[in-house]
């Protein structure tokens, strides 16, 4: 019996279109790890036959998932689970740009990271609220300084719940592209991020690291990264120099 056959739905509450149900089933396979990043999906016809719907319905579901950035379609080759290291996806969540990159040879570059410190501790009330944690939950905290070819551009702290990243040790090396790391090592796919931007005055220590005077205006970016299953899996607070960089945003 096909997966989607359910002629006598008991509750009648879920009057979802077939293509939405098909999408949800496929997203579940991404969440469960049955389909892993980089892997090729079955063909549209194969999925359609398995779910008991037409190929056009599967196509609409896959189109939606393409728009969400979950899968990548390549004509003549197949449909693949999106990887964080896909080139276009490297910059998907990265909006900081040098003010004047006529001078640089090409567009914005992805900054390198130098890890300054790490610690583990009990989650604060704020952290418990953000991650929906219990009173005895613990978190990892990482501080790092990120630089491009012109020097340091931002300081940031990452907070990760032990609950999701429990096997971290004091020796675990975080790479520069952490979302790729979450994906390949923990099967945690970051589906979207919510950011709040503010202007703040640089505290002493950060100002020094960025070679700026104390009190210089910095762009603060408070980011919560949200996984496929809607859990907040990372909280990040970045302080970015604003004299040579800006945050670009296109609204449609």
């Amino acid at each position: 019996m096909a997966v989607l056959d359910n002629p006598t739905s008991p509750t009648r509450l879920e009057a979802q279109p077939l293509y939405v149900k098909a999408r949800n089933i496929m997203v579940d396979r991404l969440i469960s790890g049955q389909w892993r990043p980089g892997q090729m999906l079955p063909s549209e016809f194969a999925i359609a036959a398995e779910l008991g719907v037409s190929q056009g319905t599967v196509r609409k579901a896959l189109d939606d998932m393409t728009t969400e950035g979950l899968v990548v379609r390549k004509q003549g080759r197949g449909t693949f689970v999106a990887e964080a290291e896909d080139n276009s996806i490297l910059f998907r969540f990265y909006r900081l740009t040098p003010d004047d990159h006529q001078n640089s040879s090409s567009g914005p570059t992805f900054p390198e990271s130098k890890y300054l410190a790490r610690s583990q501790g009990a989650a604060t009330q704020q952290e418990r609220d953000i991650f929906n944690l219990l009173a005895d939950d613990r978190v990892w905290r990482f501080q790092r300084l990120r630089s491009n070819e012109d020097g340091p551009i931002l300081w940031e702290q990452l907070v990760l719940p032990l609950r999701y990243f429990g096997d971290f040790t004091e020796q675990t090396q975080l790479p520069n592209n952490v979302y790729q790391f979450y994906s390949s090592n923990y099967g945690i796919i970051v589906a979207k991020v919510n950011e709040q931007l503010r202007a703040v005055s640089a505290p002493d220590d950060v100002a020094e690291m960025l070679h700026l005077p104390t009190g210089a205006p910095l762009l603060e970016i408070d980011r919560r990264a949200i996984a496929l299953d809607d859990r907040v899996v990372e909280w990040r607070r970045s302080l970015c120099r604003s004299d040579t960089m800006h945050y670009r945003n296109e609204l449609k």
Copy 2:
């Protein structure tokens, strides 16, 4: 003969799918004003018959235009040209939110505007670059202070080329929602905006208007509004208080 019939395309350079051609024809009708904001479009079948394609092809074109925010589809009623005053569209380009709106009854509110000054003058080199103007072009400049129920939240300057808004007089009153005004009075539909965000120190005069000390960190938003035909039609520079407000952004 149907509009899209073109069996012997001379150049063969435009191998666009039919639904892209259909979309472009319909966007041209928005640009030309043949279809005006709020107006109901012909039915999918009527458009399909006129263009000589199937209803499914017109549907795909209209779906794309819906995603672009150009039209609004209402089941059982019809497809309508999007209006700037459509409720959801009021907030489409407005990302500023009070830090703590648990206190306010509902979500973010659209701030009121008090116009402080206006002037007309020759375009600066920067303005000519932004708008792609000639040496003798002139621009209007408006300054306004925007406030919500808790007081003033931002100061901003709007720059508009006379070329596009030539019949402005010293008496023309700009409303609060300017994009609706551009649309209904000039047929200029803002399709997207490009923003650059920075942190800056408040200059004396703006600090005073926002009841902040001189040098307080402010969020600067440099926005260029782009019309359907890809012209930049408005340049806006906003300085927003950052102690009680933030800029929210969801990246997918």
